[in-house]
Symmetry: C2
């Protein structure tokens, strides 16, 4: 068995998106049971100048599809960033997983050495595929999934680390 860049990218991102989906379902049940306006969570922030909850999910999705597409050498699918409900966020996660699943594993061969150029607002980052995945895409992905989790946890949704790590896989 060899360790591949596909193994380090697609299965863990897929698992975490599934877990995030299960966490969103718990949040939705929470607001329904308590007759809370879902916007109270969807617009929530930990500090006024942070991006809100909805953006955390959108960027987690962007990071997953961006990483998989760049490493596989295909175009990144564009999603609209127009989600305003839990159901629409679930659809966004489903679309992201469907994109990951559409990429043949063989397409990632040699991706560790692929040159990745990432235009940011103020500068352009350059990485090997391996550096890009391990020091940029994965930390960024987990940052936004964890921040989404933290916002729900802070708001009183009954979730714990088992939901984050194992989600619906081990229950």
């Amino acid at each position: 068995m060899t360790f591949s860049i596909h193994a380090a990218t697609v299965p863990p991102m897929r698992l975490m998106l599934k877990n995030l989906s299960a966490i969103l379902s718990k949040a939705q049940s929470h607001v329904e049971a308590r007759k809370i306006d879902p916007a109270a969570f969807l617009a929530s922030r930990l500090y006024p100048d942070m991006l809100p909850f909805v953006a955390q999910i959108q960027i987690a999705s962007d990071t997953a599809k961006g990483a998989a597409a760049r490493l596989a050498g295909v175009e990144i699918p564009k999603f609209e960033d127009n989600e305003t409900t839990f159901a629409e966020l679930q659809a966004r996660i489903d679309k992201t997983i469907a994109f990951l699943d559409s990429l043949p594993e063989a397409q990632f061969e040699g991706a560790e050495s692929r040159r990745i150029t990432l235009p940011l607002r103020t500068r352009t980052m350059e990485f090997s595929g391996a550096e890009y995945l391990t020091t940029w895409a994965l930390p960024n992905f987990y940052f936004h999934v964890t921040t989404a989790y933290a916002l729900l946890r802070h708001g009183g949704v009954e979730i714990g680390k088992t939901d984050f790590l194992r989600g619906s896989v081990v229950s």
Copy 2:
């Protein structure tokens, strides 16, 4: 170039621990400038039944040293979990990085297929090294680093995602 389990473990964990250290330095400057009791951050939580800030750093450290030791097939160093100041948390991070740096890269050869057994409170998890790293150790590590960041951000420390992703490396 091949992609190795060492490359997916030690360099990114090392980088994130360095970034976490730089973030802690900003938090310390923040409390000093405002004459805030550091305990206000060290004991902070996003919800009453969560582990406090200090534990987030301790568990990030535990996850890093545990992952590296298990994959390298050496004993996990024991740290005391007795940190009560920012300076002691910095020392904890330094000790963790020193342990990662002490492991020769060659010791990770074949670790992707190594059987990893993880005794938890209620059950024992079994993984290949590759599964353990990508679906358990890395998500868990990033969970605690991000939660530590979130607690400081929520408390008003002036940090942003650049601190999280690039820390002192790109400034």
